[in-house]
Symmetry: C2
Subunit: 159 residues, 2 copies
């Protein structure tokens, strides 16, 4: 049983893959900066209104996740507080903190790439999202996940 | 059954009330700025290393909670990423986002004032905190809650 309103319909236009590739570009920026490679964008009516990648090392702030950066940027672009007609594309399943932030943002839709088996918010057996938020996982999952695997393999080699 | 490691021992020195009063001072700053009056401080070895109050209106950012401000400030003060020997004092029970942030911060202890019946993180039937985080609620709960009640009563009068 899932507590989440997972989207069933097909993505006929390929828009989700298109935007996930752009989120992956953000993740690659994180990778190049020696950050855990997670990237996010927020899209509203086909336009990117916020971007972000993981900055926890650079900002020395463990809460500086890609999604948090993208949310704040998107809200600033809109000049409003809520992301009601917006979609978050994020390469890895969000954590509890970012799911909680999306609740306050009242975001319409979350599309993620690879599952996060350890700290992903869907591991919690209760709905953490806003009732209006529709969820879709597994978009370009392999590519999104591979970037993470490569990052951690390289890290192990450094030790 | 509680999933949380609630603290049992007595607060013999009254230190928790002392620091909660300082968190209340932060909440009053929010009140004076027409923000939902929640305040937080982070204490390490008896010293305040981070403060914050709710800035969601001022920053036009629904994630700008008191705890998030205090966490970031505290991590900056320490020059480190984790708040391992620190206590968060916050006037109202944290939400899911802030509980999720405290996980990444690996904070040692969370002390809150009044319960948040609707969006408090303990409403979720699963532990959202770091395994090492000890929790204590109900410190100056009446005073912390009263500030919120007064704020919302005033808001209703304005309409």
């Amino acid at each position: 049983m899932s507590y989440y309103n997972f989207e069933e319909k097909e993505n006929l236009t390929g828009a989700d893959e298109h935007f996930m590739k752009l989120a992956l570009n953000e993740a690659k920026k994180a990778f190049d900066n020696d950050e855990i490679p997670i990237g996010a964008i927020v899209v509203c009516q086909g336009k990117i209104i916020g971007r972000g990648y993981n900055l926890t090392e650079q900002l020395n702030d463990v809460t500086a996740h890609a999604e948090m950066q993208a949310f704040t940027a998107a809200a600033q672009t809109l000049g409003g507080k809520y992301l009601k007609d917006c979609t978050l594309y994020v390469t890895i399943e969000p954590c509890v903190m970012c799911a909680g932030a999306s609740f306050w943002m009242q975001i319409s839709r979350i599309v993620y790439g690879a599952n996060e088996e350890k700290r992903g918010f869907t591991r919690i057996n209760q709905n953490l999202l806003h009732p209006k938020t529709v969820l879709k996982g597994g978009v370009l999952a392999e590519e999104c996940g591979r970037l993470m695997t490569t990052f951690f393999q390289n890290k192990r080699k450094e030790i």
